[in-house]
Symmetry: D2
Subunit: 425 residues, 4 copies
């Protein structure tokens, strides 16, 4: 495998940003005690010795700790950006300069660069792929059939990516195991709900500095991310409207005290809109047409397709940046629509992504999922696999310990009771 | 099958209570539009023609509507109480007098009577059992092996009952299909969370008339019921502490803003305690010993075993009823502990059980699960079966329609997107 | 003063109810530690020796403790009902039988009886009047000018009563001091907000057993009572709409995350309506006309005038009691409207009024306000007087102590800082 | 008055920042419809013609709109910074360059510069002072007795400043009227509660990027600011502890569901601390001594005296900036304490201050208070004056209109009812 010899060592904005990046990586580490313990264990046990690994992630301070864990574990790992807007250039610099990890990611890189980086990563001939949205896996499956035999497995942590993997599996092209990190309770309960909830509002506030109290906030989608955004929106005093396509989630939102209605009705009522559906064109021309002047629109779903910005742009007389990450589309009607972060993940574009404390558990799942793939190499069927419950509980346990919180344990009498079925009669 | 000839027609408190019961059943019907539609369809389609069915349920106004649906569907159905304290005698009377449904249930019946009623039910030689806590099924399996061949299947809606069925299956004694109604999203998200949440507080307030604002409320268990009680407790201004044995649920409670600690610590801090664990002796002598004078203790889990009242009674100098459903245990230390509803489900003992609006969906699941068993007679494997997703969604859809709430549907473009995996690349 | 000789000793439902009343009075005492301490001090200090006092109150277990405090303090006190529906007959019986306090109050008494009781009370020739809605004071001022010279002062705890006293003062007919108990922080922050909040929902749930989660709750009025109802309504999962006539309160409700709109719009959206305005005909024919079939309407303001039931009754084909305290008005349109507690205070009509824990502070204010009137006899100007801040704080302090909660106190450095104005420069 | 001739025209960071400042000022204007209407009216009516006015404020985009309103009204106005850390240099530049308003404010200016600016402002010989914390007024009263006769009055909007003005009045040195803008309902309900609530959390999150869910947040002080911080903290999933010195506020916090305890107990439990008391050294060495390693401490009260940073600094081995506005104090014990914004207002130091939407109403009060002073020149007594209720309501009304929210108005029948006192009898 001589590919690694000729490839460029890294492609980042500015290596001189490393000191600032290092300080920020260390700051994030304060809130990541679970991953820290895993880093320490991996450094001793080297579970990834001889393994080539590529990680396609948002290049943030938290991802840095995942990368460090993998490298500590002996992996020959390289890191690329999963999203052109989310790269923190100082973190990329520090990973290269301080931790010796090759990184290919520049904030604001164009689509060509992004796809070039995906191909650089695949040129690394990975055995394991940590994917985020399944772009790398989709590229591999579509364009690099010859490398598939080298793959031990992949891990994926977004709803979007899981949907795509399932579609690949249904099409018969997913011929290796894929760990569904998103399904782990310690992932989606926390990352999607508490992480997306706080950081989406953080992104909106940093981008606009608006007061949320008294605003009508429309949340498209009531999955775990949507639940988090709606809950935190209400917690900040907004009046929340939920839109859904799933009747069970819709009725759940109603029972949680939110208004539920089709987007075409919500569109004329909302002051701020957030899409978190994993689907395409959830807000589209028919909705823009009835929005209030000055309505603010953003996305916290994985891809930048949830808002149909192409149509909006085609209609607009002018598109102007009015604050950082805040663009005003002036429409012929005289009305304007404000779009945040170009429709990309607003928490990454305008804020700092998920707080370290939630990524701690999500990335602990990623790290342990990779270990699980290696340990079970050859014995896992192709297709999606859940994170084993014991991994999930272990992560929760490490987190509680780090927070110095004790919980009850079952008494012998209770264990016996749970295992008997004739006690009540 | 001549057993039905000799059995008594009913055993209730007082048939003269029927008019009041009828009025209350009709009142409940206002909030049960889903079951009403099912009653209408069953009356036409008669899916249970020739089927003997027994339902062991809390005999409430809502259960009445389930019983009516089953009878409308052609079932030869009888109803017994699943809990000695939860029977509403006027409802029992009306079911007999106005709807012609045999009922064997008297509020406050003793254990012997309860078990006699279970046996009367089994003497009916049921093909389908709607169970609530799995007592009837456990009795059948333990004592009536000869009737097992007559069984098409059972349905069960409590966590407690599911745990017991799983234990039976593990022991190799569950040789017929059992529909896990509790697992349906339209059941546990709503009944366990919103139903138990509101009605548990309602039971506590009716029993005691205390102000919840400013009280420390200890919730043992953070499953769907516990989440509901904790959420509504906070909604009423209480300061909530959660106890758990599962680390993932514990960390979820922490992230939801609650304090989490072992019961032995919570015991000395709480003003009011609610157990919703499905387990035994969650509050026991070591906890009573450190409670505040006047601490209020109650249970909202299925069985009356979550609080170790036998031990508490053995310690007490005196047990005195100080309000309806409210007993004061005076301890040698001079301290007293207040126990509500004798440790039975406080929402049924001291209030009216779950509001009709949630039972509407739970019992729609029960009714459709019975229909599913009949339709798939012979083709379902022994053991637990989930409610099919389409049943679940249909119930949610009927409920939304009844509330006059519209939701979005997928556009063709979105359907195509969800089924493709190479759109993002 | 021979009037007391000939007057009947009491007029209650049934003296045999006394044992049950006594038990309930004692139960309430557990949550009333502030008033208990005042009862003890009054028993020693006898501040009301030689004083004739009449209290026009809801005759509940909590009022019993106020009456006991006054009697302990040496007052020649009698008690009448301030509201025909709110009397707890067992409490009335126990006050007579066990505590020797004359009571004139029967649950459900008609208007003639009510006014006869007001006159019996005035025949007592009171020096102090504890009023609740200012009916007694209004009667005195309008019909018994000759007794005015005997008055030391009155106390009043409702917003409604304060509005009327202010109107009397503006008309020049209030020629004695009136203590505004409603204005005490330890009264209106707690009683109006937390007390009315919880007990209004309690009344609605006991009357109807509906699930609040997912319902649209319209709260008319965003004063302290309305804030409490809206807050607790949201806490139970309802979607809350507020109506107001005051723009400042309206914008406050908006910022608290509620929808605000005129009643004529809210009328067509609400599932449940609560009036807490202190004003008349807040819900009237134009609103009934657009309500949903089955809409539930109730009042938690002092008088039964907030809902125009006379007009509704005139329209109705039939008025039928469908549950206790729950009447269904069937309208010619085929629609029905559900009215709770005949438009009287729903928390008293259908539940047990405010929980003892809040009345503890409100009635401590009443008791100390009476003591203040006696101590300052002759020196207070006619008109409304606020409760002195130190009384207010003392009550809060006694309550905190009873709850075993410590707080900080100012350091000498901080006291100095607060008294200086040139420290920051 | 030749003073204005020789004074420097402005003292700001960099006039070249003006374009960015202008864009941001315009952005803020979108959320300030009330002040915009006032700007328009003032431009026509010129209420401040011939008036010299100085405004000592946080120099933010919102303050810019106040300054523009004053200038539109004909005032000869200059602006200085009320806080060395809160100046937005681009806004200062734009005010000078685009709006012709002299500004003396540079972010990070030292204390000497700050006091020099205060004196430059006083050299302007103001007739009206808009103060923020009462530093300018205190300097005037202490050092410039000769100018007092030129003063028409002052306005003050902080709790801190009001406390100082009251102390000046008590000392007999406040010989002119001071409008208490802080007391206006449209100010303190909104600015202090919703503004401080959101922006304090915003400041903490921007400075640290921590997840608030699951953290223990200690809020010192339960005035309107503290209520806002506690409410929003809970809304973000934190577990909130309140400390207080006032028993009434303490019991209110308890009833709102928060834990209340002395700071010395809270200190060992908190993850994040916010002071909002208006008092000095609320967190001091005895508290630092028992804090957790890594505890985060910040202030949202007006002055930077609430946390005793001098003592903390004296103890520390090292003080290091670990993120922007985030300093780590390493203590000899091995523990570290994190201090945000150097103990200055965290929402201004680390975020952008209050959102425009709340400042809209606060500054409308300031503008109308100045107009009121001019209109009532000579007729107002020395000392503190409340904002007239009609001003307050007018502001609320303008805001509702701008939000397109209608409310009810009283019917003639209701007006009559409110003015009568004998309707209920």
């Amino acid at each position: 495998m001589t590919a690694t010899v000729t490839k460029p060592q890294y492609e980042i904005k500015d290596i001189a940003l490393a000191p600032q990046g290092k300080q920020r990586i260390e700051w994030a580490g304060r809130e990541m005690p679970v991953l820290r313990q895993i880093q320490e264990r991996f450094a001793q046990e080297k579970p990834f010795a001889g393994i080539r690994l590529i990680a396609c992630c948002h290049v943030t301070t938290e991802t840095a700790h995942l990368a460090i864990a993998l490298k500590n574990g002996g992996a020959d790992a390289i890191l690329i950006a999963s999203n052109p807007l989310s790269t923190q250039d100082d973190v990329a610099a520090s990973l290269v300069a301080d931790y010796g990890i090759p990184v290919f990611a520049i904030k604001g890189e164009d689509n060509d660069t992004y796809h070039r980086h995906v191909n650089i990563a695949l040129d690394h001939h990975p055995n394991i792929i940590i994917d985020d949205g399944s772009d790398v896996t989709a590229t591999l499956v579509a364009q690099r059939q010859d490398q598939i035999s080298e793959i031990i497995g992949t891990t994926e942590e977004t709803t979007t990516g899981i949907v795509r993997l399932q579609a690949m599996f249904n099409d018969g092209v997913l011929s290796f195991p894929a760990m569904n990190v998103n399904d782990a309770d310690t992932k989606h309960f926390f990352d999607n709900r508490y992480g997306t909830g706080q950081s989406t509002l953080d992104g909106i506030i940093r981008a606009t500095n608006i007061l949320l109290a008294g605003k009508t906030l429309v949340v498209a989608g009531y999955g775990w991310c949507g639940k988090g955004v709606a809950l935190r929106g209400r917690g900040m005093g907004a009046n929340v409207i939920v839109t859904e396509i799933d009747p069970t989630r819709a009725i759940e939102a109603v029972m949680d005290g939110f208004r539920v209605m089709p987007m075409i009705e919500a569109a004329s009522l909302g002051d701020v809109f957030v899409t978190v559906t994993g689907n395409k064109h959830v807000i589209r021309p028919e909705h823009f047409a009835v929005m209030k002047d000055g309505a603010i629109v953003c996305n916290s779903g994985h891809f930048d397709i949830e808002i149909d910005l192409k149509s909006l742009g085609a209609q607009a007389n002018e598109v102007k940046e009015v604050r950082n990450f805040t663009q005003q589309y002036s429409l012929p009607s005289g009305k304007s629509i404000i779009v945040l972060g170009e429709g990309r993940l607003v928490n990454l574009a305008a804020a700092e992504g998920h707080p370290s404390a939630v990524m701690d558990m999500s990335f602990a799942n990623q790290a342990l999922a990779c270990e699980y793939l290696v340990k079970n190499k050859g014995s896992l069927a192709p297709g999606l696999h859940s994170i084993p419950t014991e991994v999930d509980r272990e992560i929760a346990r490490l987190k509680l310990n780090a927070m110095n919180i004790q919980i009850d344990s079952l008494t012998p009498e209770q264990i016996e009771y749970l295992n008997s079925w004739n006690a009540g009669t």
